[in-house]
């Protein structure tokens, strides 16, 4: 059939021909584009054909899901023995968190998921409250997971002091500085008052759970989420500090970054678990998990700082010049012009650091905290279930893979969303 003829300048927009788009095009271009490519495709197909059925059978069809011990597993079927994992599931999830209190962890997790959705999903209803929710969640989570009179006293003191200080700031004092000092005074007084009262009365809504009971996926999530949320802002500050014109700030930041990067994380964790007790005054009880959180955060923030510095350097100089020429001060220029662009450029590196931090959390095993890997190893020592390391490690690997892949996917989505020009 001959092509229809059009007058010059009247040709309409047409969809591309079928072979130029869609799956057929993709297969042709990516799998069968050249003899080498065809050979590789065939080889890969053959390889997959050889290993996939076996893997599938081991994992699913030949696997045992219910059994009392290893021997029963073996007697029932030839594949994986998931019964082991099923039996230890709670240990893998909560560590040694008291059984009667585990509902608190579940509620925290549900709240965590809800907060993450609120913060990350642009079309989420109620998104205008994301800052309040984001600020409240850590406190609520701390209360739910740790509980106990002194935690509650601290949180209550903080909350009450904040409310009273806000009220004072609204009502009292004629000028800004008087209001500020009044509200600061109110804050301190109320905080001390409420804390003393609460602890003196021994009030407690939730039973205290000591952090050495934490373990499993819960521990990984606590370390990962805390480290991730704190290391980003800290990394930004360090990166900006490194560029500062003030030598003291600049060299303090460089010194910090280079020191932390130059030391293995394990060393820092050992420092956290042993040496800090020498430096701190005797008698101070500085929670081990808290020390670990600080060390992991500092470690990640040093890497974060370098990733973000790379992003800052990639923002053209003309951007700051344009901001300067308009009379923007340093703060707004950074926050509104330079950082959004630098962070966007650094997304792959930032997420890379996040994922690294998240996976490095298994290193806490060396100082006696039981993350999923630690629980797994401890479980393997059970004589009833010997020789099941493949199942255990695969299970832990899948947990890590799912969380890390989710982070990676979100980062790709974010990159696409923030893309504002033509793709090259």
């Amino acid at each position: 059939m001959p092509e229809q003829q059009y007058e010059p300048g009247t040709h309409p927009d047409l969809p591309p021909p079928f072979a130029a788009s869609g799956p057929v095009k993709w297969v042709r271009e990516n799998l069968f584009s050249s003899p080498t490519n065809i050979a590789l495709t065939v080889l890969a197909m053959f390889f997959l054909y050889k290993i996939i059925p076996g893997m599938f059978a081991w994992t699913f069809t030949d696997a045992t899901f219910v059994a009392a011990d290893r021997n029963e597993c073996r007697a029932l079927n030839s594949g994986a023995c998931w019964a082991f994992i099923a039996q230890r599931w709670e240990l893998f999830t909560y560590g040694f968190y008291p059984e009667t209190e585990r509902w608190r962890v579940i509620i925290t997790f549900v709240l965590f998921v809800a907060t993450v959705i609120l913060l990350l999903w642009e079309k989420c209803p109620g998104r205008q409250y994301r800052f309040i929710v984001g600020a409240l969640f850590p406190m609520v989570a701390l209360w739910l997971i740790v509980g106990g009179s002194s935690t509650e006293a601290a949180l209550m003191a903080y909350a009450a002091a904040l409310v009273v200080a806000y009220f004072v700031y609204q009502r009292f004092g004629h000028n800004l500085s008087a209001r500020f000092w009044f509200s600061l005074l109110a804050f301190v007084l109320v905080a001390i008052g409420v804390y003393t009262l609460w602890t003196a009365m021994g009030w407690s809504m939730l039973e205290h759970v000591s952090t050495d009971k934490f373990g499993g996926f819960m521990l990984t999530l606590i370390i990962g989420v805390t480290g991730i949320t704190l290391s980003l802002p800290l990394g930004i500050l360090l990166a900006l500090g490194r560029q500062s014109n003030l030598p003291i700030i600049k060299y303090a930041c460089i010194g910090f970054i280079e020191f932390i990067r130059g030391v293995p994380l394990i060393t820092l964790l050992f420092v956290a678990s042993t040496m800090l007790s020498y430096f701190l005054p005797p008698g101070t009880n500085f929670d081990l998990l808290l020390r670990v959180l600080i060390m992991v955060t500092l470690f990640a923030s040093a890497y974060m700082a370098e990733v973000i510095r790379g992003g800052l350097q990639a923002v053209p100089k003309g951007q700051t010049e344009a901001a300067d020429a308009m009379g923007l001060k340093y703060g707004p220029a950074m926050r509104l012009i330079v950082l959004p662009q630098a962070l966007k450029i650094s997304i792959p590196g930032i997420v890379n650091t996040f994922i690294g931090l998240y996976k490095d959390s298994v290193l806490v095993i060396v100082i006696g905290l039981l993350d999923p890997l630690g629980i797994g190893q401890a479980s393997l020592a059970d004589t009833k279930w010997q020789g099941l390391s493949t199942e255990v490690y695969l299970f832990v690997a899948i947990f890590f893979f799912v969380s890390c892949y989710a982070m990676a996917s979100y980062s790709r989505h974010l990159e696409d969303k923030l893309h504002t020009g033509h793709k090259r």
Partner: protein
């Protein structure tokens, strides 16, 4: 000098540069620059590449720091005092060769950012003003697009609108058309001509001699960091005095 005294002495002088020198390391880029720009005056600066034109106009809003001499802009002396620098930058708009639009913000956001954050104008008002200026540069329909989706000429017009949104008293242009494809130069020059006709004080580094002849009150020729010659456009083009000016003009006019 007190600000009032400076203002008395200046009369309607918008920019006053006296015996100004600048070095990059040991390299003496600007040598004894003296220049008075009156309110409403339109000055075109030309000269060979590397002669210090950009450096000179960037000293006027302190994107570059001069090391000797005085620069007084709109009655404010440029010193290390950040307050003065900010005061000057609020009143002086600048348009760059490579536009320097903010790629992560829409055209409208580009235009409202400085009014909102520097002049503390309410958002709705800033947007209304921005739309007026975008209409003046004839691209109101692009307001919600990102700079990366516009042509070079459109981007440069947005950059001009963005500067105008701050209601500057003085506009600086650094080769605003040299990064543009030939067919887009005219649309930008037309915008600038319109601006000139409304009485804006302008200093414009450009090699567009047609523009210079149409709107300039004065053309300045720079070479090797010095102002070699300045004159009204007619005299400057028809009767250049210095032989370096003659050489330069013969080069750019004959090609």
């Amino acid at each position: 000098m007190s600000t009032e005294k400076i203002q008395q002495e200046l009369g309607d002088v918008a920019i006053k540069i006296r015996q100004m020198h600048k070095w990059y390391g040991a390299f003496h880029v600007l040598k004894d620059i003296n220049l008075d720009v009156h309110s409403g005056e339109r000055i075109v600066v030309c000269g060979p590449s590397g002669s210090g034109k950009s450096t000179m106009i960037r000293c006027i809003n302190r994107l570059e720091e001069h090391q000797k001499g005085d620069i007084i802009v709109d009655g404010v002396e440029l010193t290390n005092d950040l307050k003065n620098i900010e005061a000057v930058r609020r009143e002086v708009g600048m348009v760059f060769q490579h536009f320097n639009l903010f790629p992560h913000l829409t055209v409208l956001e580009n235009c409202t950012l400085a009014p909102i954050w520097v002049r503390k104008v309410p958002k709705a008002e800033a947007e209304a003003t921005a739309m007026q200026y975008l209409e003046r540069v004839k691209i109101p329909e692009q307001a919600l697009k990102y700079p990366g989706q516009l042509s070079g000429g459109q981007q440069q017009r947005v950059a001009i609108a963005r500067s105008l949104c701050m209601s500057p008293k003085i506009m600086l242009f650094d080769e605003p058309t040299s990064a543009l494809d030939p067919e887009m130069i005219k649309e930008v020059l037309d915008t600038m001509i319109e601006l000139a006709q409304e009485g804006m004080t302008m200093i414009c580094v450009t090699h567009e001699m047609g523009f210079a002849k149409t709107v300039a009150n004065r053309v300045i020729f720079m070479d090797e960091g010095q102002i070699i010659e300045q004159n009204e456009p007619e005299e400057f083009f028809n009767n250049p005095q210095n032989e370096r000016t003659q050489l330069f003009l013969s080069q750019i006019l004959n090609h």
